[in-house]
């Protein structure tokens, strides 16, 4: 975290993008004692107690909301902690993180929910725990969803695992309607995916790597749409990766079901031809899919079928990645490259407006989670990210703050760079 005694911050002449208000304009923002005190042109302040940030020509966005992050705390603190994960977040412009419950122990009790909330009190950004749907993520016994939500869980997920038993999934959905909570679903049929290492297709066949068929994801999405239709639950499909999934979710929404979804930057950035390098940092779940699937995800974003972009930040030690492709763990870190990777593909290559992209990483995920975030409002705590969309940089292993370095983006040239992040009202990150 940037050490700074000055309490007040003035962001001068930035181009403010605020999807919450639906507008884009040039203005100053004044932050006093951590609270947004004014958004208008030519704000004058006292010299001594104010940090001035010249944002001329830069984009000023609400702090990003990343709804899918693994902080590995408690239990795997050698990979990441709440503290280091939060520092990585603010470096990536992320000021609100929803953290997944597949820790050790699993976040399936109110004590664990409180542990996350208390430990994140001093973290660089806001951290909101997602609690497990089933005890110990075993897919068998439903957690105390009522008690957990009272304790502060903002959603429920067995992420990393899929509830294979359809009856249990159905009862979870029915019960979730009592509390109006969102279920974040990792869609995977284990009978179809077992033993798989990469997307099943031309390249898996060529490389002799066991395939993971799109069927494994699509079969469960189809099941869960049916269960949601019957139960009335609000479901969110996370890290959607298949064309079939996009099509099914599109239809389900046209029908009026409460179903949302997100996609990761790495599924937008790469296709399975990139695996010919056997780069273990590209070994992720769901796998990097075919170009056809990637195109469907891009269209899904443009058409508004896909609601959010989330990193699925999954830290792993070098020893888990510097091994054979078969033995390597699944996952890539993603907090620090969330914006740049998405911006490079969506805005630079696909000509999506930056306004639309900012919406996908601020207001839209906040709405899915039902939290007050992703906006810049007078009278509220400042969570703001300043971006230089003209910058370009090659991603280097050494540049990561995250405790783990397993980034799929190492060696890639990405456009767009976070210049500074104001999180919880304080200057939390400043690019040197």
């Amino acid at each position: 975290m940037v050490k700074n005694e000055k309490k007040n911050i003035l962001i001068k002449s930035g181009t403010i993008i605020d999807p919450g208000k639906g507008k884009e304009f040039v203005s100053d923002i004044y932050i006093k004692d951590g609270i947004v005190a004014g958004i208008k042109e030519n704000i004058k302040t006292g010299e001594d107690d104010t940090v001035k940030i010249n944002a001329e020509g830069l984009i000023v966005s609400p702090g990003f909301v990343d709804m899918h992050v693994h902080l590995r705390d408690p239990g795997f603190e050698d990979e990441e902690t709440i503290e280091t994960g939060a520092l990585a977040a603010v470096k990536g412009g992320v000021t609100t993180v929803a953290c997944m419950p597949n820790t050790n122990p699993v976040i399936d009790s109110d004590a664990l929910v409180k542990y996350i909330l208390e430990k994140s009190h001093d973290a660089a950004c806001r951290i909101l725990p997602v609690a497990a749907m089933t005890k110990d993520l075993k897919g068998k016994d439903i957690t105390e969803m009522g008690i957990l939500s009272e304790a502060g869980a903002i959603g429920f997920s067995d992420d990393g695992k899929c509830v294979a038993d359809s009856r249990i999934m159905y009862e979870i959905m029915r019960y979730s309607t009592q509390f109006g909570l969102t279920l974040i679903l990792h869609e995977e049929d284990y009978f179809l995916s077992e033993g798989g290492l990469m997307h099943e297709g031309h390249y898996s066949s060529m490389l002799g790597l066991e395939g993971i068929s799109t069927l494994g994801e699509d079969v469960i999405i189809a099941r869960d749409i049916m269960l949601a239709r019957k139960s009335g639950a609000r479901i969110h499909v996370t890290h959607l990766s298949t064309r079939g999934g996009v099509e099914m979710i599109k239809k389900a929404r046209e029908e009026g079901l409460h179903i949302t979804c997100d996609v990761t930057p790495h599924h937008l950035f790469f296709n399975d031809s990139c695996l010919t390098s056997f780069n273990t940092n590209l070994k992720v779940k769901p796998p990097i899919r075919s170009e056809e699937d990637r195109q469907a995800l891009l269209s899904g974003l443009k058409e508004g079928v896909i609601d959010a972009i989330a990193s699925d930040h999954a830290p792993h030690l070098d020893t888990e990645k510097n091994t054979t492709f078969k033995l390597a763990s699944f996952g890539t870190i993603g907090l620090e490259t969330l914006f740049a990777a998405a911006f490079t593909k969506l805005c630079f290559e696909e000509k999506m407006s930056i306004y639309q992209l900012v919406n996908l990483i601020t207001v839209s995920p906040a709405k899915i989670l039902g939290i007050d975030a992703g906006k810049i409002e007078v009278g509220k705590t400042a969570n703001i990210t300043v971006i230089d969309t003209g910058a370009e940089e090659e991603i280097k292993r050494e540049s990561f703050i995250s405790k783990s370095k397993n980034s799929a983006f190492i060696g890639q040239k990405l456009k767009g760079k976070v210049i500074c992040t104001i999180s919880k009202g304080r200057l939390a990150y400043m690019n040197e």
């Binding site: 077992e194 056997f278 020893t319 510097n322």
Partner: protein, 306 residues
């Protein structure tokens, strides 16, 4: 003399490399037939046979090839299962390299591992088979066997029969044979093929190709590489895929039968066919493949280290 420092897959071999290897194999084949089978070409060079998966044929073949060229060859075997998470394969490599070796011959049970290792080390690496990915020296010796039998490649019809999905030999052979202008058909049941095989020429029954094929390449059923088994039974295999006497007799004059070995007798090829003599027995080129394997590996070692 070859275009790359290492041989990790068939795809990275240039046409010139292939020509050069086949050309040199002739003179090394001649050496292997002499009374004194040794030349001083690689004296003072150290080659390590680094095998993370059990092998007798390929390891022995490389060992004989290196010894006939007067190189010192050291065998290092370790079962892949002992190299679990936390025990780095890279560390093992560093240890070996610290002893100033000149070339590594490597086999591993996981696909892509030799390609990964090649990026980490400066010395040349020869892939002696990795997982289900590639086995380039096998493909080259198969190609050499075909050259010796037919004297040409263009237009020859090859049927590769059996467990395509789990076979690094099939992947390597298909790449190399097509590169040399041969027509390759894969004969396999759906569960031993990739999910989408629309880009490949595929048949499901050996009887559909048996009369018209120049080279019948029987794959070993890789039972040890299958995590889950979907093929119903040996009886079913015999019905659609096994080479038996009736099928052998249907093959056209001049055609050959190949197999990378070791043969699962009674599955890919019946006992009767394996032991057949006379005119029909001449079709079976399995022992030639082994003989030519030494010559091909001598040629490769010579071209990389000589």
């Amino acid at each position: 003399m070859l275009s790359k420092k290492s041989i990790v897959d068939v795809g990275s071999l240039e046409p010139e490399d292939i020509k050069l290897i086949l050309f040199n194999a002739d003179s090394f084949l001649e050496i292997s037939r002499r009374d004194v089978k040794k030349v001083p070409t690689l004296r003072g060079k150290t080659v390590v046979n680094l095998f993370f998966e059990p092998s007798t044929r390929t390891k022995t073949s490389f060992e004989i090839a290196a010894k006939r060229l007067s190189a010192d060859i050291i065998n290092f075997s370790s079962s892949s299962s002992s190299l679990k998470k936390g025990e780095s394969i890279i560390d093992t490599l560093k240890t070996i390299l610290s002893m100033n070796v000149d070339l590594i011959v490597m086999r591993h049970s996981d696909s892509g591992t030799v390609k990964m290792i090649d990026r980490f080390v400066d010395v040349p690496v020869i892939n002696a088979g990795d997982g289900k990915y590639q086995h380039p020296t096998q493909a080259l010796l198969d190609l050499y066997t075909i050259k010796k039998r037919f004297g040409k490649f263009e237009g020859l019809k090859v049927a590769i029969v059996g467990d395509f999905l789990d076979s690094r030999v099939a992947r390597s052979d298909m790449d190399l044979f097509e590169k040399m202008g041969m027509e390759v058909t894969i004969v396999a049941p759906t569960m031993l093929l990739p999910e989408d095989y629309s880009e490949m020429k595929v048949r499901h029954n050996i009887d559909e190709v048996i009369k018209d094929t120049d080279i019948l390449y029987m794959l070993r059923m890789q039972l040890e590489r299958q995590d889950r088994k979907f093929y119903p039974s040996v009886m079913e295999y015999n019905r659609f895929l096994t080479l038996d006497m009736k099928r052998l007799e249907m093959m056209k004059p001049g055609s050959v039968v190949m197999h990378p070995g070791p043969v699962n007798r009674g599955i890919e090829i019946t006992d009767e066919v394996m032991d057949v003599g006379g005119k029909l027995g001449e079709k079976i080129a399995i022992e030639e493949q082994v003989t030519y394997g030494v010559a091909i590996r001598m040629a490769i070692l010579y071209l990389i280290l000589g």
